[in-house]
């Protein structure tokens, strides 16, 4: 049996915690209390379940990928279709949950950070649905490579604030969102988009995303009468992976998180803190990070903006340290190949983030037999990525 984590102080073993300016500590304590109060509240659960079903479109399908299975000729491959969630990615599971909480806490304004723009869109969606004012911080570089999502957020009534500090990507967007929160903490709810940040966010976001794993468990039992042998998910901040892993931790199913190796681990141009990083503190929690010998955060690189983050949620560091999950990486090119492979074999365009999980089949399949069952968390759809993919493949559109 698993020990229930995090502990009262928000620690997963040595990881996690609350490393934030004092100005935010009271707000975090309030959030903790509110979450503790509502998470088991019948009304809250009923409302969340209603939005799951009637708005997000849950349960999402667990789809048997027959042609992909044949392509490899080893294990049976299932896809958990989070790309079919309203908005096109798993991110909405979290934002609806947090919005319901923010509503009960009496907040009127929501802020969020975004990388690919997927969490930004999911936050903007929840804000529109519940009538919150919403501002999303987005690195300037990301506003350029994901301009479609910027416009989408604007349509949803959200203001996108381009962030020009630091590396102009997700980590800087998160710094800027935290600075906003430090300034407006009394009126504002900070909607963090992954299992990162200070306690209680890693726990809360995991809980909201664990619907993915719970559904997967029920669905695979319906199809196969048993747990899968392997579950694969991509890891940026780690929320889709935590969501599908969580009900399977310590049960014998092999859990594999795939980090972006970018241009190659050896080039230093990647986003793989669990594979190549060192322990440290970023954005409020202790976890593995990309950093230099003096603790300066190093820029990450990935073809997929949603994985372009030098940190990772603390619970993943805990799972790695305790060998409860395994982490590996695939390069931009490998992800791009998987992006095309899944499109052609199954008629499903995966997000470039999710394509990292699909790409891992190349490494995994040779070790598996026909009786094995693999589930891939298809965290999002690829429509947002066609421009990036085209340019990477040298196609002019």
């Amino acid at each position: 049996m698993q020990v229930k984590l995090p502990d009262e102080r928000g620690h997963f073993g040595e990881f996690g915690g609350k490393f934030v300016p004092e100005t935010l500590m009271t707000a975090l304590e309030e959030l903790e209390k509110a979450y503790a109060k509502y998470k088991d509240d019948e009304d809250f659960k009923a409302e969340l379940a209603l939005y799951h079903k009637e708005y997000i479109g849950r349960p999402t399908l667990l789809y048997f990928a027959e042609r992909l299975t044949k392509h490899y000729g080893h294990a049976k491959i299932y896809l958990k279709r989070e790309d079919l969630c309203h908005g096109g990615a798993h991110k909405i599971n979290n934002t609806i949950g947090q919005a319901l909480l923010a509503k009960r806490m009496g907040k009127q304004r929501i802020i969020a950070e975004t990388g690919a723009g997927q969490h930004g869109v999911a936050s903007a969606t929840a804000a529109a649905l519940f009538g919150f004012e919403c501002q999303v911080y987005m690195g300037e570089e990301d506003t350029n490579r994901q301009s479609l999502n910027v416009f989408r957020m604007n349509l949803l009534g959200t203001e996108v604030v381009p962030v020009t500090s630091g590396t102009k990507t997700l980590k800087d967007a998160m710094n800027e969102a935290i600075r906003d929160w430090v300034t407006n903490v009394e009126t504002t709810y900070y909607m963090i988009g992954s299992v990162a940040g200070p306690h209680p966010y890693p726990m809360m976001v995991r809980d909201f995303q664990s619907v993915i794993g719970l559904e997967t468990k029920a669905q695979i039992h319906e199809f196969e009468g048993r747990d899968p042998d392997v579950i694969i998910a991509c890891v940026g901040g780690g929320s889709n992976a935590m969501g599908i892993f969580y009900p399977f931790i310590g049960t014998g199913t092999r859990l594999i998180g795939v980090e972006p190796a970018g241009l190659g681990l050896e080039t230093g141009q990647h986003g793989a803190p669990l594979t190549k990083g060192h322990k440290g503190i970023l954005h409020g929690s202790l976890s593995y990070l990309l950093q230099d010998d003096y603790g300066q955060i190093l820029p990450a690189h990935s073809i997929s903006a949603g994985l372009d983050y030098p940190g990772v949620g603390p619970e993943h560091s805990y799972l790695k340290e305790n060998e409860l999950a395994k982490y590996d990486s695939v390069t931009d090119d490998e992800a791009l190949a998987a992006f095309q492979l899944l499109s052609r074999t199954e008629g499903i365009l995966p997000a470039l983030e999710s394509a990292h999980a699909v790409a891992y089949l190349e490494k995994l399949m040779p070790d598996l037999s026909k009786d094995d069952i693999v589930v891939i968390n298809l965290s999002g759809r690829g429509d947002k990525d066609v421009q990036v993919a085209a340019s990477a493949l040298g196609v002019q559109i």
Partner: protein, 268 residues
């Protein structure tokens, strides 16, 4: 190991208390505008009337800082300043001055250096205390233990949003003084002092006898004087850093004049 040496910070505040004076505590970014000039600035402000210097160790992701200090940090990092560079500057400053020096940085630079190593090297260089705005009392114990072993004070921050319970916890853990964040926000010069500052300081006074220093947003002499009426120390960061940025080659003279003006306003 027993440390008998009285920490320079404690010495400063007990001296000031006897003379009924308040501390002027400027913030400088180590390595900004360049490595040598930052050392000269430290010595110059000490000469000009500063009572304690906060010396920033630059960090890539300073989430409690506004644009002014962010820019200074980035520029120091571009000058290849790292934690050892800063310790080395302090070591050199120590040949010339006994002013208390508090290193201000974010916890990751300390953690990555190694808690014990960092405390040891900082203390050997002549650093008297450390402030890390992202290290609340709940997470501070491992560092505080290492710091204490080498006679370094760990200064905690109190905020207007802190509950009375938290103010108590923060003050109990804090050493040397309590850093009272004047406003709900990040660092950066502001035109006006927050209206509820006096009430906030009163709330902190109620839970502790330790010296209280107020920082964030203070820029003009008149503001410093007002703050010194309620607090034991006045911290000036962004205003000094932007003055240094604007003065260019004249930054040492400009900083000296600014510090001596503020100091006379506080003493008047």
């Amino acid at each position: 190991m027993i440390m008998i040496k009285l920490n320079r910070i404690d010495g400063l505040f007990s001296r000031l208390r006897e003379g009924n004076k308040k501390a002027l505590m400027p913030y400088l970014m180590a390595g900004y505008p360049d490595i040598e000039t930052s050392l000269k600035l430290l010595l110059a402000v000490a000469e000009a009337g500063a009572d304690l210097v906060e010396f920033g160790i630059p960090y890539s992701d300073p989430l409690a800082d506004g644009p002014t200090i962010q820019k200074a940090a980035n520029s120091a990092l571009r000058n290849n300043v790292n934690t050892d560079t800063v310790f080395d500057l302090v070591k050199r400053a120590r040949q010339r001055t006994e002013i208390p020096i508090v290193a201000m940085t974010y916890y990751n630079t300390i953690y990555r250096y190694g808690l014990e190593e960092c405390a040891k090297n900082a203390a050997e260089a002549g650093v008297d205390g450390v402030i890390a705005p992202d290290l609340p009392p709940e997470e501070a114990e491992p560092w505080r233990e290492a710091a204490q072993k080498y006679g370094l004070a760990t200064v905690m921050l109190a905020a207007p949003t802190s509950t009375d319970g938290r103010l108590k916890k923060v003050s109990e853990v804090s050493q040397g003084f309590v850093y009272c964040v004047s406003l709900t926000g990040v660092t950066g010069a502001r035109t006006n002092l927050p209206t509820n500052l006096t009430d906030f300081i009163k709330r902190v006074r109620k839970v502790t006898d330790k010296p209280l220093a107020v920082g964030f947003g203070i820029s003009r002499s008149e503001q410093a004087r007002q703050v010194s009426e309620v607090a034991d120390g006045v911290i000036i960061g962004s205003a000094l850093v932007s003055l240094i940025a604007e003065a260019g080659d004249n930054c040492i003279k400009a900083a000296e004049k600014y510090i001596s003006d503020v100091k006379s306003a506080m003493d008047s």
